[in-house]
Symmetry: C2
Subunit: 380 residues, 2 copies
């Protein structure tokens, strides 16, 4: 938690649950990444947190933007971004969204299928397109599954078709999975992309860009490798595979830029010890917060992302807890198996903070599940 | 899909994704349940769908309401419900919510822990309280886990404490899990509750209510037992355990009342066949809709709830598909393993309907994940 957030919470005691984001911290991380990867252009993954103050700050720093929808493109434009600095990075796009984006001046689009390519050729003629490869997501705490990307063989055919359809076969992309903690994942993926890249160049395509995706991790409960270690691994792999003909490089960080800039302040609604079906008392206390999986903490699904939690009693004796949200939904459990311990003195009505919650919280939040309003947001 | 919804979709072609609910169908299900369980009072589980037209219709039918939050209580009051017809059924309540509810005239509260009991004694003095038992959720497609309810032994101690604290020890509740397809689950739970009920009466408590919870299923892909079969099982179990001294009975249906009154109309954004990492072509088509897990279809998590899907090509040749939502999130997959098949002719831009989506869709919907606006809602 940054000193600015700590002061804000202490002085304002804003209504809970709320998300407080320190926009200076966003800038710090952006500059850190820029310094670590000076050859890469940064396309901020807007979906991580599309709040206007964040977008405006990033515009002022010269960032580009990776948008998932026409609506996100509009947000970027409204925040002052130039259309030429926006990539429409979703491989699943409505025709209407492609047309709106193209009309607004966006000329860079992702795809991974024949049908999407046909849509782009028709509704964004001549646009720069890049094909997403399917790569391993091992090591990622929020992997991206089989939903996106295609094989090297298929991508090759697609890129050749892109050229034939009058599109600009700009490059290749991949995504090693979100909250990726293994630098080796980037090296393996770069090797895969490089092979195809070289092959397509040999086939006469003016291919000139590699998009390394995002996935750079934020520190939650566990230490993660520094961004310099990722940069080193990427730099080595690019040199190994491309020699001194390194193509344009793009990265699409989201979590890394905004994750540790945010803190969720929540209230303890109930601390209970209840009986088990066999009559014994449950050894675990259940701590219920006024924010849960449907109030923004969606990435606790499967206990994937494990946020650090601060309480007013830190340093005193602790005991094991299960943590859950305030709704009547049995699935609204944050952590039951992840060995969380909290102070024994923690009581109903007290405030706790969930750290590094700047990414993927405000937008996942449900509109009004169980009647609860969306999380309040403060950008300071 | 009711004829009214079919006409609405055909004539209005409303923008997708949207949820269309036939409020007459809500009334039909309410009356059906009332006829099947004439001895039970119906407390509609507001969280299933809190839309004003639904609440107003149910008020006009004499329904009571099970609310999960102060905000849901406010919605009921605004729809014309009497405070005396509202149960604050969440066992996890902020003190401020208890105070607001009590001040508004709500006098019926659930609990399952000592701390919650203390809060009720202090902030809702004299209120009718009922204790939630932990029971088996086997047979439920959306089970409720260990988050709620306590053991018979603990509940006994809690009910005696409730009396000692000046509260009215009104009854016991349980919940067999949502979309419960096994009538035996109710019988087992009633047996468990009856034992404690009788014991507490013998101990001198004026206990007089059993709350059977909800869980009555909606038909999705598979047939489910009729409501009459559940009513028979419940009636038999109540008679077996309570003889001719049957207590007040309460049910809290949500899904059963509104589930099959709703249809989600969605657009196919992309149909793709992509390559596998080994270079082979994926045998499955991927069909991407403009609605997914974060646009309201949250209950497809783990492929739990399997909606029926209608397409314009029904009746023609089909093939296996994976179904996914429109966001850049790898977790936004509806069905990958659940053996869905859709017509081979299905194409981008066409509309499909997801049936029986009246419950637990509009409220789970995220505020703006990936920039997408919440699902449009039409109550007709």
């Amino acid at each position: 938690m940054t000193p600015k957030i700590a002061s804000f919470l202490a002085e304002q005691a804003p209504a809970t649950p709320c998300l407080v984001v320190d926009v200076d911290q966003v800038e710090l991380r952006y500059c850190e990444l820029e310094a670590a990867l000076p050859l890469s252009r940064i396309y901020y993954a807007v979906k991580a947190n599309p709040a206007t103050p964040i977008l405006q700050r990033l515009v002022s720093l010269g960032s580009c933007f990776d948008a998932a929808s026409w609506e996100e493109i509009e947000m970027c434009l409204q925040a002052g971004a130039d259309a030429s600095a926006i990539s429409f990075g979703n491989t699943i796009k409505k025709v209407s969204a492609i047309r709106s984006a193209f009309a607004a001046g966006v000329t860079m689009f992702a795809f991974d299928s024949d049908e999407e390519l046909d849509k782009l050729a028709r509704h964004a003629p001549g646009a720069r397109v890049y094909c997403r490869l399917l790569v391993e997501n091992q090591g990622a705490e929020w992997p991206l599954s089989r939903k996106f990307g295609t094989s090297v063989e298929h991508a090759r055919a697609l890129m050749l078709r892109a050229q034939a359809l009058g599109l600009d076969p700009y490059g290749l992309s991949f995504h090693v999975g979100s909250q990726q903690t293994d630098t080796g994942a980037y090296e393996a993926a770069i090797g895969r992309a490089a092979m195809l890249f070289t092959d397509l160049q040999a086939a006469g395509l003016d291919i000139r860009m590699v998009n390394l995706g995002g996935g750079f991790p934020t520190r939650y409960r566990e230490d993660v490798p520094t961004i310099d270690r990722f940069a080193d691994a990427i730099g080595r792999a690019m040199t190994r595979h491309f020699g001194n003909a390194i193509p344009e490089m793009i990265v699409e960080p989201g979590r890394f830029i905004v994750g540790d800039a945010g803190v969720v302040s929540a209230e303890v609604v109930l601390v209970s010890r209840r009986g088990l079906p066999n009559g014994a008392q449950d050894g675990k206390r259940w701590v219920y917060l006024d924010v849960g999986r449907f109030g923004g903490l969606a990435e606790t699904e499967g206990e994937s992302i494990k946020y650090q939690i601060r309480t007013p009693h830190d340093g005193s004796a602790t005991g094991p807890v299960a943590l859950a949200g305030p709704t009547c939904d049995g699935a609204d459990i944050l952590y039951e198996r992840a060995d969380y311990r909290l102070p024994l003195d923690l009581a109903c009505g007290e405030r706790v903070e969930l750290l590094s919650t700047g990414a993927y919280v405000s937008t996942y939040c449900s509109t009004r599940f169980n009647g609860f309003a969306p999380i309040h947001e403060h950008y300071i």
